[in-house]
């Protein structure tokens, strides 16, 4: 029963974060500028490097 209350409290905390984030998310979903040519490539390049780096870290701790 106690663990159920902990779960409910955790869900309430998470919902509070969602409510906190909502106005900012709404603003950026409406007002994000359109990407120019090459913008996504420039963003995906470092993000791809992060993925490879995390895979390397995982291999290190295995």
């Amino acid at each position: 029963m106690d663990s159920m209350w902990v779960k409910i409290l955790a869900a309430v905390v998470m919902l509070a974060w969602i409510i906190y984030l909502w106005p900012r998310a709404k603003y950026w979903m409406k007002n994000s500028p359109a990407p120019k040519e090459g913008d996504w490539r420039a963003a995906l390049l470092p993000l791809g490097a992060v993925v490879l780096f995390v895979m390397l870290l995982i291999m290190m701790v295995r």
């Binding site: 902990v6 955790a10 869900a11 909502w22 950026w28 990407p35 913008d39 470092p46 780096f53 701790v61």
Partner: protein
């Protein structure tokens, strides 16, 4: 008589204020990360109950929600930053204690810590040197964060390990994107308040660290 052409000087002024913003943000971020790590160590030593993470998260959220918007433009905002980062650092205690108890726990924690630092420095350095505008990612990042949070609520009740790992990987990528987004906003004038910028970057670093900890813990074969 003195006809100085200020239109020529304006870009220089913009660059100087941008550099000052970046310098102040990184100084405050460094101090708040050290403070947060110190609070995490105190938390590990005190061994508070696991529910403390939720409580500190709730109080930190209250500060971010109700106090920071009123103090972000004053020196009092600095105290709010240290309050938020100290609370969230303290909330890390039970998680660190859990991972430290694994057979290769210290290695996992050290790897997650070092990995987070390298990811942050790499992404920030990339955004600072390319000076590219990543504001187009804003909608994607914030929508993604909402999706991850809703999935996290479901995870609390469903307890699916694969979903937990998918969320950790998703959060990791979104927060990496957020570092690019926030750093480019500082470079290109989209963000002018170093206190707000620091809090955003701190939250991204914290989320990358906890996600990396989960991923390394799960794939180390000991979690």
């Amino acid at each position: 008589m003195n006809r100085l052409d200020y239109s020529v000087m304006r870009p220089i002024e913009g660059a100087v204020s941008g550099n000052k913003l970046i310098k102040n943000t990184y100084l405050l971020l460094s101090a708040s990360l050290i403070w947060s790590a110190l609070m995490a160590v105190v938390s590990v030593a005190m061994a508070p109950p696991p529910g403390i993470a939720m409580l500190t998260s709730l109080v930190a959220l209250g500060l971010l929600w109700l106090v920071l918007p009123r103090t972000a433009n004053s020196p009092a905002g600095l105290w709010v930053v240290f309050g938020v980062t100290g609370l969230l650092g303290f909330g890390l205690g039970p998680m660190l204690t859990y991972y430290a108890a694994l057979s290769n726990g210290p290695q996992i924690i050290a790897t997650a810590f070092g990995g987070t630092g390298i990811i942050f420095l790499g992404l920030s350095g990339y955004a600072l040197t390319t000076r590219r505008d990543f504001s187009f990612m804003g909608g994607f990042i914030f929508a993604g964060m909402l999706v991850m949070m809703i999935a996290s609520v479901a995870l609390i009740f469903l307890n699916i390990p694969a979903l937990q790992l998918a969320i950790a990987a998703g959060v990791m990528l979104l927060m990496s994107g957020y570092i690019l987004f926030q750093t480019s906003a500082m470079v290109n004038g989209g963000e002018t308040n170093y206190i707000v910028a620091t809090v955003g970057l701190y939250l991204a670093i914290l989320n990358i660290f906890t996600s990396l900890l989960q991923l390394l813990g799960a794939f180390s074969g000991d979690d």
